[in-house]
């Protein structure tokens, strides 16, 4: 039958009426994409209405922002010694927190992985811990831990640790579940215990993924710990908060500059390390080294020595960081009554209209900012991505700008906008919009540059104009990653918008901080529960949408 149709088509004149329908059937992908687009537009409109955005408020806001900028210039830098101490404290918080999280995430990930035979309630419990710690932002844990352990970097490091556990453990769980089950089965067949199978057989295989996850998280945590000081949990954020609190805007600008430089250096370092480790991987395998004379000796070669030294240095730095937090037993013991009071006060959770309104406002700020930010990010990505950029010098400038803007934590933008425009969701929306734009620009640029160049070349070679070649050769390929990355930006924005209220930039964060300050832990607990459900729900929706699109 098919052959018959083809033959007829081949012999029919070109303008004869076609045999079949000319409109392609509506696919599931089209429906999902259209649904997401409609949702984004609707949510953005609702957000604009909620925060009272109009051309006049926007113009007034810009004027306020300009006046604030004038008061910030020229920046005034604190004494070099003070600033160095604060930077070191910031780094130590991040290192200690990330290290603790890395250590804790190994047993958690093995408990959560579906590969292990055994009781399933431990698996469910481990999965719950991962979801919970991932959903609740670092700053929320910081507020709670400042209550329990007092002001200072110890609370900050613990907050970083608890929130990071969820992400590192999730990535590790994924790696464990993707690993080949056969080597584990082979050692089980030798009579090994489950702990031995996990640590001696599976862990060596997932180690590269684990190290990558920990380093990635360390990068995030250094950024996060630079603003923990806003709630008194140590680091350079303390100085920023003090400067803004005393209306010393020039000092605040100086500290922000220091934070930017710190984060740019980090960015540079991660690029260098990424290049180095790439080289190491390409080096060939080691043959039997001459030094391994004794038949049971380990063969020491350059790679093994480097790996060993690297791991040793990392452990030493981690222990030093831990020590610097001064975790004396009596201090930890003092925290116990506070913690117990907090935990007993949390039950039963006090849900109220205020809680739901707060979370709704956070959700609107996040989704609105992500939608508008994705659009702006797309525009920037089209200017910077190597395969579509219209003008290289402009691409380079925009690229650097995006890195700088992305380097500044959202909370810093929020602090500035609150200072300029006053309290409220408008400040939070603008702060999140800026960071979403930069984040989306980076993701989209990377995605565009990874596309297959052949379709674009093919269209160009048959005489398509630049816009035609883009529309046919690039855009269709790019749509899935546009939507996927856009959803990811929304997911991240939601976690951030929850804490913006801590500095008065709208959303549920303000209520959260107030509830802890007034010892209404039952309200705190209700907020945490609602946040977890909403974050997990959005994440699940994003995952489903991605699965139907990719």
């Amino acid at each position: 039958m098919v052959i018959g149709t083809e033959r007829r088509a081949a012999h029919a004149p070109e303008n004869a009426p076609a045999a079949g329908p000319l409109r392609p059937p509506l696919g599931a992908r089209t429906v999902v994409a259209a649904g997401l687009l409609t949702a984004a537009v609707t949510v953005t409109c609702v957000t604009f209405w909620w925060i009272g955005l109009s051309p006049s408020t926007l113009a007034a806001g810009l004027g306020d922002a300009r006046r604030l900028l004038e008061r910030m210039l020229p920046p005034e830098f604190p004494a070099a010694g003070d600033i160095a101490a604060l930077i070191v404290e910031t780094l130590l918080i991040a290192v200690a927190g990330t290290g603790l999280a890395a250590a804790a995430s190994v047993p958690l990930a093995f408990a959560a992985a579906r590969t292990r035979p055994g009781r399933s309630w431990t698996r469910s419990a481990a999965r719950l811990v991962i979801v919970l710690t991932r959903a609740v932002p670092t700053l929320v844990f910081a507020i709670l831990f400042v209550r329990a352990f007092g002001l200072g970097p110890l609370a900050g490091a613990l907050a970083v640790a608890v929130h990071s556990v969820g992400m590192i453990a999730k990535l590790l769980t994924d790696a464990i579940e993707e690993a080949d089950p056969l080597p584990a089965e082979a050692v089980r067949a030798c009579g090994a215990r489950e702990t031995q199978v996990a640590l001696s057989n599976v862990l060596p295989r997932v180690l590269p993924a684990f190290v990558a996850a920990v380093l990635y998280r360390l990068d995030i945590n250094i950024r996060a710990s630079s603003v923990l000081g806003v709630v008194g949990a140590g680091g350079i954020g303390v100085a920023l908060q003090t400067a803004l609190g005393s209306l010393n805007y020039r000092r605040a600008a100086g500290i922000i500059c220091v934070i930017i430089v710190l984060i740019l250096l980090l960015e540079l370092l991660s690029v260098v390390i990424g290049r180095r480790s790439g080289q190491d991987r390409s080096a060939g395998p080691a043959a039997l080294p001459a030094s391994a004379r004794a038949r049971h000796d380990v063969g020491w070669d350059r790679h093994r020595a480097l790996r060993f030294a690297g791991a040793g240095t990392a452990v030493v730095i981690f222990l030093a960081a831990l020590w610097s937090l001064d975790p004396r037993p009596d201090r930890l013991a003092d925290a116990w009554p506070n913690t117990r009071e907090m935990l007993t006060g949390m039950w039963p959770p006090a849900f109220s209209a205020e809680v739901f309104t707060g979370v709704l406002e956070s959700l609107l700020i996040a989704l609105g900012a992500a939608s508008v930010g994705a659009l702006g990010g797309l525009a920037l990505a089209l200017l910077t991505a190597g395969n579509v950029a219209p003008w290289r010098p402009l691409a380079a400038i925009v690229r650097v700008l995006v890195v700088v803007v992305r380097g500044i934590p959202d909370l810093v933008y929020a602090l500035l906008f609150v200072a300029a425009l006053g309290l409220g969701p408008f400040a939070g929306f603008l702060a999140l919009w800026i960071s979403c734009t930069a984040l989306a620009a980076k993701f989209f640029t990377d995605a565009l540059e990874r596309l297959d160049p052949v379709p674009h070349e093919a269209l160009t070679s048959v005489g398509a104009t630049r816009p035609q070649a883009f529309a046919g050769g690039i855009w269709p390929q790019f749509v899935p990653s546009f939507i996927g990355n856009g959803l990811f930006v929304a997911d991240l924005a939601l976690r951030e918008s929850i804490v913006l209220g801590v500095v008065g930039a709208g959303g549920v964060g303000y209520l959260m901080q107030e509830s802890i300050a007034t010892l209404r832990y039952d309200v705190t607990c209700a907020i945490v529960i609602v946040i977890t459900v909403v974050v997990y729900g959005i994440e699940t929706l994003a995952r489903l949408a991605r699965r139907h699109l990719l």
Binding site: P183, E185, A186, R188, A189, C190, N201, P208, A286, L288
Partner: protein, 259 residues
């Protein structure tokens, strides 16, 4: 049918096993005395892998009883099962090695059952074990490659590392599930030769599933053929001709094991 050099290391009586409604093994009776090399032949899907996994308790039978080294895996606690498995070596078609680790560390994992805690890195294993592990690698001809990452070894070398790992267990019985199915002819002959030598030198029984008829005849003391979950032939290898075994395969093909 089988010689009586020693006590039975393996005794299956009326064993049946199914997965989700499909019968994989049906009424299997098999006794293997000490020191015997048994080749288990039959088309894919005949139940060879399942039979081997019933022996070391990776699967449990639906019907009948399994006695491995005098122990019933179905009646074992988790600890007893681990103890039994440490006495039974298992060689996999796909080796089951950790590619990122050295040959030596992979061999050392065979001795985990004798150690209390997890180990990480060659140096975390006791020195005496390391010496024994190198000795076993020497037996399979790979002592010089002991610090080489396993994913840089050839398929035949990897399977020999896996055999050395099994030997480090000091097994009383070795089960091998298509140990040479992923290897080229030269490497296949070498691996089977090593298994045969171990069986003769150490007096260990080997139950090895194979689908190459000629290899089964040249290596084994006894050939057991399975088809559709039943034993259809069980004879000393010396009394068998290649034609009779080939006929078995052809019949299986005609009966449509392949649809």
């Amino acid at each position: 049918m089988s010689d009586t050099r020693g006590e039975a290391v393996l005794d299956l009586a009326h064993v049946g096993k199914g997965f989700g409604g499909t019968v994989v093994l049906d009424d299997i009776d098999l006794t293997v005395p000490q020191g015997q090399f048994v080749a288990l032949v039959g088309p894919s899907g005949a139940g060879k892998s399942t039979l081997l996994r019933l022996v070391n308790g990776m699967h449990l039978p639906d019907r009948g009883t399994v006695r491995t080294l005098g122990v019933d895996p179905a009646a074992c606690s988790r600890r007893e099962l681990r103890a039994l498995r440490s006495r039974v070596g298992f060689v996999f078609q796909q080796f089951g090695l950790v590619g990122r680790l050295s040959a030596l560390e992979n061999v050392l994992m065979g001795a985990l059952a004798t150690l209390r805690w997890p180990r990480y890195g060659v140096m975390s294993y006791p020195r005496a074990l390391r010496e024994r592990a190198v000795h076993q690698l020497d037996r399979v001809g790979l002592a010089d490659q002991r610090f080489q990452r396993c994913d840089t070894l050839s398929g035949g070398q990897q399977q020999r590392v896996a055999v050395a790992r099994t030997l480090l267990q000091r097994p009383e019985l070795i089960l091998a599930d298509e140990p040479v199915a992923s290897l080229d002819p030269a490497a296949s002959a070498m691996v089977l030769d090593i298994l045969k030598r171990i069986s003769v030198e150490d007096g260990i029984s080997v139950v090895c599933s194979l689908h190459q008829v000629d290899l089964a005849l040249s290596t084994a003391d006894r050939v057991v053929a399975l088809r559709s979950g039943r034993i259809v032939l069980d004879e000393p290898a010396a009394a068998l001709s290649a034609e009779r075994l080939h006929a078995l395969y052809e019949k299986a093909g005609a009966h449509g094991d392949r649809h």
